[in-house]
Amino acid sequence: MFWTSYFLAVLAIVLAWPVPILLSRAHWPARDPFTAMLLWQVIGLAGGLSMIGAMLVYGLEPVGDNLIAGLQALAGMVLYNAPTTSLGFWHLFALSAAALLTAHLVFTLLLTYFKIERQRRRHRELLTLLASPSADGTGTVVINHDSPVAYCLPGGARSVTVLSDGLMAALEPAELRAVLIHENAHLNQRHHLLLWAFAAWRQALPWLPTTRLAQEAVNSLIEMLADDVALRTESKATLIKAIAIVASGSAVPQAAPVLGPAGLPGAGLQLPDGAGSGSASTTASRVSRLLSPRPPLPAALRATVVGVCVLLLAMPTALLIVPGLLG
């Protein structure tokens, strides 16, 4: 019990600080965005679990040999007024902190959800008044705007992909197809849920700089995942051209070594809250991974990462639950 809490605390610290920094600097995520995405989720989940678990286990140490027995004893104190004298000040402190952190995380998650939902509803309301259905298929609308913009607005059956006039004018049919497939991939793979979770994570722990790193990494990984879907049917040149045109903000790039003067970042904006908008580094890493592709991650390495993911999730859970089941 005692060692468990120390181990969990160390795990929480490692997952909160050095691991996200190393991962955000690594180059392999561009070669296997799916596995990297998995790892980021596990880091967040296991990090949160071990943070709360460490405090819980420490606080319950005097009243139970394992978490389950400890929680039973705690329930007795809270619900039936059982004596609390066995708990010292620091135990109570840790228990309160665990309860507060849990409530804070859940509350922030819900709050973020409602904030995003409200903004999307408003956005959808305006879209029904401003945009007209496109010829490209159901669930696609066109809005009157000169900048080349494409994004999708998730909302279950009412999900919609929005294209601007400027985009339609600037892109060739194949490029437009690539953009549409890219946006649909965001919707099909439920990327908005990932963005929501990581936005909430950052919102909940803004003083932890690695939550920003995680959010940025996730923003960029979902773009790569959607690009990969587009690459299944469209050529690489088509996709790169589409990204470049959207990023440059005009059909015919003039001046500048590579692109035109104005640059609207990211062909794949999916959340109308700014959090999802592609940043400079996202556009750059997307294009450069298409221009100079590197081989996919070797199967062995990939399996290792997946194994680490499973282990990271299983460890805190096992440490918390298994002793109770055995004893």
């Binding site: 956005h123 008044l129 401003l130 705007h145 400079a280």
Partner: protein
């Protein structure tokens, strides 16, 4: 009967095109006219359109903050709160975020591609 959503859209189109405040009666007549002009079944729908329906649509739009009522006059005159372009700009601002610096985007992008990548890109973009 056209759905409320379609009517909201039609009313907003009229208000955005008209530039000046209009009463529910005027709007009803304009709606009847525009649907009659399209002929057929649509014309029939237009005739059935009641002023109360238009008022319902207007109050929904008012709740959404899209139209406002001139208080002093009777009957009330309605007008759009902001132009179609302003609303579009509002949406685009939401999507594009609080304007990540375009120059910075470009500088970073150019800084990060290698010479051979830039060459490939130039070819793709038709500078070959």
């Amino acid at each position: 009967m056209a759905s409320l959503g379609e009517l909201e859209r039609a009313v907003m189109d009229l208000l955005w095109a008209g530039h000046e405040a209009a009463t529910a009666n005027t709007l009803r007549d304009m709606l009847a006219q525009s649907t009659a002009a399209q002929g057929g079944a649509a014309g029939h729908e237009g005739k059935d359109l009641a002023v109360t329906t238009v008022l319902t649509v207007l109050s929904r739009l008012e709740k959404k903050g899209l139209v406002e009522r001139e208080r002093g006059t009777r009957p009330h005159r309605y007008q759009a709160v902001s132009s179609r372009e302003d609303h579009t700009a509002e949406l685009m601002h939401e999507v594009l975020g609080s304007a990540p610096d375009r120059e910075a985007v470009l500088a970073r992008f150019i800084g990060s591609v290698t010479e051979s990548e830039a060459e490939t890109l130039r070819k793709l973009l038709g500078h070959s």
